[in-house]
């Protein structure tokens, strides 16, 4: 441990919800996308799942909204260090989509991609079992464009770069293929509780 002379830091919060090395951003919700925020109308949005699945399929905005709704109430964690507590997203559980395309037994990973071409890679196990959503709403309102509206992937138990904004699709794979940040030195899984920020962590 390298103690920094004269550094005491903020009063310690003994918040069991705060992963190591994170701080509570309070009401702030920083935006960190690397590309221009796209001007994407809900009517132009679509979501596709293909790759190692029995029945590849594309949903329109209306078709996705016809699926049973599901909400996430909880926390989110960004690799830059902030966490945000008590957020509420509304959308559809990713399980509802995956059940319809039926991933092959050999499927192990997925690449999520955005309408901007942003990509991020995830183990398939992190996208199933009620732990991932396609989110359309934040706090009861349409998701703002700078936060990924009209629809983003939501995988709140991993660092938030995995929750691709302006989600366009998932390619299901039988191996890991690093996405944008994963090719730029970031961790393949990104579990905030194990502080998996960079590859090698």
């Amino acid at each position: 441990m390298h103690v920094t002379r004269g550094f005491t830091g903020r009063p310690r919060v003994s918040d069991p919800g705060l992963p190591p090395g994170q701080y509570d951003a309070g009401d702030d919700w920083p935006v960190l996308s690397a590309e221009v925020t796209p001007d994407l109308a809900a009517t132009d949005w679509s979501f596709r799942i293909d790759g190692r699945v029995a029945e590849p399929r594309t949903w329109t905005w209306a078709e996705a909204h016809a699926l049973p709704t599901s909400a996430y109430d909880g926390d989110i964690h960004c690799v830059t260090g902030w966490s945000k507590f008590g957020v509420r997203f509304g959308g559809v559980s990713l399980d509802a989509f995956l059940d319809m395309v039926r991933p092959a037994t050999t499927a192990t990973h997925a690449v999520a991609y955005s309408h901007t071409g942003y990509t991020t890679s995830l183990p398939l196990a992190d996208l199933t079992g009620g732990r991932a959503w396609i989110a359309f709403e934040y706090d009861g309102r349409p998701l703002p464009a700078e936060h990924g509206g009209p629809a983003r992937l939501l995988v709140p138990h991993l660092y938030f770069w995995k929750s691709a904004k302006w989600i366009a699709g998932l390619r299901i794979l039988d191996h890991d293929e690093p996405g944008f940040w994963e090719q730029n030195g970031y961790h393949a899984r990104g579990n905030p509780w194990e502080e998996q920020r960079y590859s090698g962590d």
Partner: protein, 252 residues
């Protein structure tokens, strides 16, 4: 597997400019503060000696951490202000954020000889190796990674075209004010020298530099707060800059 890499249907707007080494990013290195230089009333530059620093490309950032006696750690990202070849040194320029845990320590406690830890350099998408003509647009401390590019180009006498639009509240808030040359157009939002208009960055500032675009156009790098990045990137798109040639580093 024989199949090629997955390619999304739309090509990513801002693919990485350089390959980034995962192993250099994983190592925490001790950095010793060797000097502090005041830039404005709110911003100062901190110079560090970092033994073993792998070297960076202009535009990259690092992660920095401070550790309290009880093991409590605060870590933040900072852009690198200095050009790549600075003899084992790097410089960071920090705004003093009201109530800021890390910037507060730097601005009120830090003195030469203090040791902190850094890991990096990180991220390849905002890097500028000095190859493509670059249009740089920044506000406040968002000028920091852009200055590394300006300094690099100057240090190597590169003749690749480069323009910088930098926004500040007033002349006294303009970081690196003495270092700018003909490549730079400052934009003042609250107060300006006599004869210089006051106001937000607008199409009036962007149009002339877009008109100067070299054959093949500009690679645009936008840096600052999210509000500024949204505003400036929209101005560039409206002025005809292709979205897939706009890279944005948002400070959150």
């Amino acid at each position: 597997m024989a199949s090629g890499r997955f390619r999304p249907p739309s090509r990513f707007a801002v693919p990485g400019r350089i390959a980034v080494s995962g192993s250099t990013a994983a190592v925490w290195r001790t950095a010793t503060l060797t000097g502090i230089r005041r830039e404005t009333a709110r911003a100062a530059t901190f110079r560090f000696a970092v033994p073993g620093w792998a070297g960076h490309v202009p535009g990259q950032h690092l992660m920095l951490r401070l550790t309290a006696a009880d093991g409590y750690v605060a870590q933040r990202h900072y852009s690198i202000a200095s050009p790549p070849d600075d003899g084992g040194h790097i410089e960071l320029t920090l705004d003093h954020v009201e109530g800021g845990e890390v910037s507060g320590w730097f601005h009120t406690v830090a003195r030469p000889g203090d040791r902190i830890e850094v890991r990096g350099p990180l991220s390849g998408f905002f890097a500028w190796p000095g190859d493509r003509p670059a249009l740089l647009v920044g506000a406040g401390s968002g000028v920091v990674p852009l200055m590394s590019m300006v300094r690099h180009r100057r240090a190597h006498g590169l003749d690749v075209p480069l323009r910088l639009l930098v926004s500040a509240r007033g002349p006294r808030d303009l970081i690196y004010a003495d270092e700018y040359g003909a490549e730079t157009t400052p934009v003042f939002t609250r107060s300006a020298p006599v004869g210089v208009p006051v106001g937000r960055m607008s199409a009036t500032h962007v149009a002339p530099v877009m008109a100067e675009a070299p054959p093949g156009g500009w690679e645009a790098y936008v840096c600052g707060s999210n509000a500024f990045a949204e505003h400036a990137s929209r101005l560039l798109v409206e002025a005809g800059q292709p979205v897939d040639r706009i890279r944005i580093e948002r400070f959150g």
